[in-house]
Amino acid sequence: MTGMEFIARVFPYLALGLFVLGTAWRFLRWRSLPAHLKWTLYPFPKGTAGQLKYMAGEIFTFGTIYRFNRRLWIGAYVLHMAMGGFVLFSILYLAGWLPGTAVRIILWILLAAPVYLVALRSFNKYLRAVTTPEEFFNLIFLAAFAVAGLAASPSAMSPRAYFVGLMLMRPDAASLPPELVPAILLGGLFLIYLPWSRMIHYISKYFAYHAIKWQKN
């Protein structure tokens, strides 16, 4: 198997697989931990409905940061929505329901948001004091992915055929436009890295709220 074939036919599945496994491992590990000290913070939303409502509000609006840290919120909110948006738009594009331009716009946003956040974290005295190289690394990682995606997108060759093949479990190295390779590599590496970085908060948040902050007796 050539390197190109590996990248085209194995790597995407490997990355996704490791992402799912990594996430599952961390989820199960946290879930399996023994009963801990009760460290509830009062008051908390009553009932499952109330808690879900709070969570949904928090996830879709970043309400707490919006209220207390508006300048960071702009960047953080846009960044997270762009990440979700990228996945969604890509699927819609592959399904033929959205033009490639839509994906390109999202990628521009996915580039702009990290750049803004790097700047904010560099120039705001207080954010700088709590920002570690990891934050910058994560942001630059995302920005690099966006750049790679943008660099690939104006290509003459449509990536649609390749991705559709990938989704139907019939990956075809020949249909992979070469300009797309950096984006595939970066995207895959990001997926592999994600569960082990502190961006694992997409899982930890659940426990931190439901199992600790809102724990009943």
Partner: protein
């Protein structure tokens, strides 16, 4: 542009609190890491601690809520910066990514200088948990502070005054204020006389009554400082016709172990429970004290010896509120108390959810409360939490930093009296109003509640 802010060392040269460890600087590091390893293996802290150490978005939402940071604006008072002192060590020695990637993921080798920084930083946090209310990831910096202090205690760093009080408490028949039993009994006699003077009837403070339903333990400093609170509580028990007692072999609910040591917490708690058991009482009632109530309620099932697990533990706020609900006590038409505001002690509010009980009692007693802004879960710490109020050397810091926002908040209410059902808060608030020239009385909850009781007790 990469900034390595973690290299900045604290701290405020004017900060008066210093603690000296008997260990050499080299020994400190090794023992610190050993202790951290031990704590990470404990079920007790496993999930919350690792989660808080693993995930922080570094958004500084916490900073906007922290009264200490708000007062100083110093980067070293950023809650996330403080927590990072521990986080970076955890990362370096206990996570694969930190071992592998080091500084890139914010991991850092422990130095003796880092430990010095922690001693100050973890004693500049009052563990009020205000910062946890609006953390998007539900990280609780106060728990990290607590664990940080536990680790520091392992290598000998504990504020002098706390060690002195705890040693006094753990001596035979001792207590944190070193009140000998004879003085304790003399004080009870005095309080009974005062109760006769005030009410015209005999209201006993029963001692060593075997089989009483309620065993009452106040923060022992109340027997020096808070006559009105104790008298109010005696009046409530009496009016409700409850069977209650104090114990003459252990009468101190204070548990400074909460602030720095699980071992001490456990020992102090079990000694108190042993006294409850000696007198065969069913319920341990903790007086007006936030940290003591939280220490007992939260750690009872964890650290209480198994033979003591059946003892019920309640705050006096819950007991009095229940007496009211059951119609066992009632209040006379309001006497004019002047305007009253209510301070939510952090450990009773955020820590235990006792927000409405005191307010309902005050309302029932016909006392209108002018609320502080903000209040309840967003109330500001008095500035003396986390045991800092015990240290006289921290007095100036507590006045000008820890309690600065609180003082402004008190003044803004324009109230004549601030009610705080917590010995720790009351001490700090009294010093605050004096220091900041605020014309305000500081009182306990039962001071007012006791005086408002109807006189059916006369019968």
């Amino acid at each position: 542009m990469l900034h390595p802010p973690l290299d900045q060392q604290p701290i405020d040269p004017a900060y008066p609190f210093r603690s000296e460890s008997p260990l050499s600087r080299e020994e400190r590091k090794a023992r610190f890491l050993g202790a951290l390893k031990g704590i990470l293996e404990l079920d007790l802290y496993d999930r919350p601690l690792k989660m808080y150490l693993d995930t922080c978005a570094r958004c500084n939402n916490c900073a906007g809520q922290c009264p200490v940071f708000q007062a100083t604006g110093d980067v070293h008072d950023l809650p996330a910066w403080r927590s990072d002192l521990l986080r970076r060590v955890y990362r370096r020695y206990f996570t694969p990514s930190g071992r592998l990637l080091g500084r890139l993921v914010g991991a850092k080798k422990l130095t003796a200088g880092d430990i010095d920084a922690m001693v100050e930083a973890f004693y500049r946090c009052t563990m009020c948990r205000r910062c946890a209310v609006h953390c998007p990831l539900a990280v609780d910096n106060a728990l990290i502070t607590r664990i940080g202090r536990v680790l520091l205690a392992e290598i000998g760093f504990v504020p002098k005054n706390i060690t002195v009080s705890v040693a006094a408490q753990l001596a035979k028949g001792g207590n944190t204020s070193s009140i000998p039993p004879a003085a304790f009994i003399d004080t009870l006699d005095f309080l009974e006389e005062e109760l006769v003077d005030e009410t015209g009837i005999n209201i006993p403070i029963p001692r060593d009554v075997e089989g009483a339903e309620y065993f009452f333990a106040a923060p022992v400093s109340d027997y020096i400082m808070e006559a009105d609170t104790l008298m109010g509580i005696a009046r409530v028990f009496h009016a409700a016709g409850a069977s209650w007692t104090v114990g003459t072999e252990n009468y101190d609910a204070i548990n400074y172990g909460l602030f720095y040591s699980d071992d001490k917490l456990e020992e102090i708690l079990n000694r108190l429970l042993a006294e409850v058991r000696r007198l065969k009482c069913g319920t341990l009632v903790i007086g007006e004290c936030g940290h003591a109530t939280k220490a007992a309620l939260l750690f009872h099932k964890v650290f209480g010896r198994s033979e003591y697990r059946d003892i019920r533990i309640e705050s006096i706020l819950q007991v009095t509120r229940r007496f009211l609900a059951e119609g066992k006590i009632s209040f006379a038409a309001s006497k004019d108390q002047g305007s009253v505001t209510y301070h939510d002690p952090c450990n009773l509010g955020r820590g235990l959810g006792l927000y409405e009980e005191p307010r309902e009692l005050l309302a029932a007693a016909g006392i209108e409360v002018v609320e502080m802004q903000p209040n309840r879960e967003m109330n500001l710490c008095c500035g003396g939490g986390g045991g800092l109020v015990v240290a006289p050397d921290l007095h100036d810091w507590r006045m000008s930093v820890g309690g600065l926002l609180k003082a402004e908040q008190l003044r803004a209410t324009g109230a004549k009296t601030v009610v705080a059902p917590c010995a720790n808060c009351k001490k700090q608030l009294r010093e605050l109003v004096q220091h900041h020239n605020i014309d305000m009385e500081v009182a306990g909850l039962h001071d007012l509640v006791g005086r408002a009781l109807t006189r059916e007790e006369k019968a």
